[in-house]
């Protein structure tokens, strides 16, 4: 794509640049607004006409967030649920994806399509039945249950991604390792995992983003304050508070988004090469 864009004459590239610019403004505008507001005082945040740049920048909002008793607990819950869900998804998805890529068995196609189809059922449709199910067996407000449910949401995509990444590894490499004396487990551990690492980073990132940003699952299945996540806490403020403090809330939003952004930064290199596959060409 970059080659196509840079090869054109400057005048020919102009529409593309303009379009990217507009797109960037649409996407980044609210982010910039939130960031700016988080440094404003409570009064300035709601001033009319609104200011773009905080006239007196303050860290007060951030300090307030960190001083909040429940923040650390909410944060920990968020981390635990999403890391747990992704770990579980990888634990299931790596062997399943490997099997889908390497073994042929009856009904494999149907099975894979079914797995894919489950990810297309809107989560909201399952909310009520799942709620009654969990309620009747007393499993509401369980961190483990929430983690499993979140994991179930990302397992289908994980299996499919991993299967594709494994397929991109030439099977002769495995044959070779068999001849070298490796068993299936050693092959997966020593060869497949290192070779599909970019792919794993990509699915893990997508999984973290999905689960970290989840609101509804946690809000419904773990309504207990002690079990809530940052996302739930954030929304609760809108309802709880007598008056919403926008500047406080934006500081909260920035902090709540930070881990995901950091994660992207960390795995960016792998993420891109994972999405573009070809990661294993000798």
């Amino acid at each position: 794509m970059s080659a196509a864009m840079s090869s054109g004459r400057p005048s020919g590239r102009f529409p593309a640049i303009l379009l990217s610019f507009v797109f960037a403004v649409i996407v980044l505008g609210p982010v910039a607004w939130a960031l700016a507001t988080s440094f404003k005082t409570e009064v300035e945040a709601v001033a009319v006409p609104p200011t773009l740049w905080p006239s007196t920048a303050t860290l007060e909002n951030y300090l307030k967030v960190f001083r909040d008793q429940s923040f650390l607990r909410d944060f920990w819950n968020s981390v635990a649920y999403s890391v747990g869900a992704v770990a579980l998804a990888l634990l299931v998805g790596i062997p399943a994806g490997y099997a889908a890529a390497r073994f042929s068995f009856k009904g494999k196609r149907a099975l894979m399509l079914t797995i894919l189809a489950t990810s297309m059922v809107p989560g909201v449709a399952l909310l009520v039945p799942t709620f009654y199910l969990l309620d009747s067996i007393g499993l509401l407000n369980s961190g483990i249950v929430v983690t499993i449910i979140l994991s179930a949401r990302i397992i289908p995509q994980t299996v499919w991604f991993i299967a594709n990444f494994v397929e991109a590894v030439p099977v002769e490499i495995e044959d070779s390792a068999f001849m070298d004396g490796a068993n299936r487990f050693q092959i997966i551990w020593n060869l497949i995992l290192p070779l599909i690492r970019p792919g794993i980073a990509a699915v893990a990132t997508i999984g973290i983003v999905t689960t970290w940003n989840d609101y509804i699952t946690v809000a419904v299945f773990a309504p207990d304050v002690a079990k809530r996540t940052l996302q739930v806490a954030l929304v609760n403020q809108v309802f709880d508070a007598v008056g919403i403090s926008w500047s406080y809330m934006m500081a909260f939003v920035v902090i709540a988004s930070m881990p995901v952004i950091l994660m992207f930064g960390l795995v960016q290199k792998w993420f891109i090469s994972g999405l573009t596959a070809g990661a294993v060409k000798g």
Binding site: G181, A182, K281
Partner: protein
């Protein structure tokens, strides 16, 4: 080291039979090539010897032991693949030492093994490189190094040189041959290239559509092909085949021209196919008239593609007088090197 015996080996994928009962006896230390056109089942057979494919029927023995249900790693075999199949995330040394690492060999032993193989293959300077930093020929050598390190009973090669350019292929051919002469390990080498098969092998197994057409030393196959398939496959350019009839000690072409028959077929009287290699046609004033179509001099010899009626005939001449396209030349087969095949099943009659 070990001998390898294939006894009526069969392979079926689902319901599709691919190998229809192959029996071959490979002696200890022998260099055997499996040659045949693409899709004839060479790789499948090799992979069955390796243990990478199940054996649907028959028996494979290595060193006198039946290995039908023995997993690859217990067969004491090493295999080199066409696309090298190196581990991309490991250095050359790690690639070569992987099998020893799996065996939990102590570090010094691993280093010694890798060092020895690297020395044999002149890879010592490349040990810290990654496969992506190597040329095609170097990768091929690493793949061989990985095999040597294991010090196996049998080497298997599956078209190891197909991905190399022509010059490197010839060079590596020699290297592999030298390696075999040095290590004397039983080797089964798959190729679709009959020149490779001829130049490297002690013994050639010619395969076609999942069966063995003939087994023999290179010159044996060249001089006494068992049937038209082997006759046409071995030798380059390919043997000329002329349809006609054996009658009263002569071979009559469809247009009535006559060619000499070997004495052994004097009394034969039936439809047949007359086979003569391009290099066994000599110019002779009383020979078969041919119209020259294309002349291809290569220096040492000249390949002439000519026609007799609708039949195309290839000749190779060593003299320096080149015929011209359109010219009529007369050629006569060297009757001692003529092959006659059954019209019905292609089997050799002479």
């Amino acid at each position: 080291m070990a001998n390898v015996e294939l006894k009526a080996v069969r392979k079926t994928y689902g319901t599709a039979p691919v190998i229809h009962g192959v029996t071959v006896d490979i002696r200890d230390g022998e260099f055997v090539t499996l040659v045949g056109p693409s899709g004839c089942g060479k790789s499948t057979l090799l992979r069955m010897i390796a243990g990478l494919e199940d054996i649907s029927g028959g028996e494979i023995q290595i060193g006198g032991r039946t290995v039908n249900s023995v997993p690859p790693k217990e067969r004491d075999i090493a295999m080199v693949f066409q696309n090298y199949a190196l581990y991309p995330h490991m250095t050359v040394a790690e690639n070569m030492g992987f099998s020893l690492k799996l065996k939990k060999a102590p570090r010094e032993q691993r280093e010694a093994g890798v060092g020895r193989a690297a020395e044999i293959l002149s890879l010592t300077k490349l040990l810290d490189r990654y496969p992506r930093e190597l040329s095609g020929g170097q990768r091929q050598r690493v793949a061989m190094g990985r095999a040597i390190v294991r010090n196996p009973q049998v080497f298997l090669f599956d078209e190891p040189l197909s991905n190399l350019d022509a010059k490197l292929r010839v060079q590596m051919r020699t290297e592999i041959k030298e390696l075999h002469q040095r290590l004397k390990t039983t080797t089964v080498y798959v190729t679709h290239d009959q020149v490779e098969a001829m130049t490297m092998a002690d013994k050639i197994v010619v395969m076609h559509d999942g069966i063995v057409e003939q087994v023999g030393a290179p010159l044996e196959l060249y001089n006494h092909p068992a049937n038209m398939f082997v006759a046409g496959f071995i030798g380059s350019p390919a043997m000329n085949f002329l349809k006609g009839r054996c009658e009263r000690g002569r071979f009559l072409l469809e247009d009535g021209s006559a060619l000499a028959l070997p004495a052994s077929l004097e009394h034969l009287s039936s439809d047949a196919v007359y086979g003569v290699r391009p290099e066994h046609l000599v110019r002779s004033d009383d020979g078969l008239p041919l119209t020259v179509a294309v002349v291809e001099p290569t220096g040492a010899e000249t390949q002439v593609i000519a026609r007799h009626g609708s039949q195309s005939i290839v000749c190779i001449f060593r003299d320096s007088v080149l015929p011209q396209p359109g010219e009529t030349i007369r050629v006569r087969p060297d009757v001692s090197r003529v092959h006659v095949f059954s019209e019905r099943d292609g089997r050799r009659l002479s």
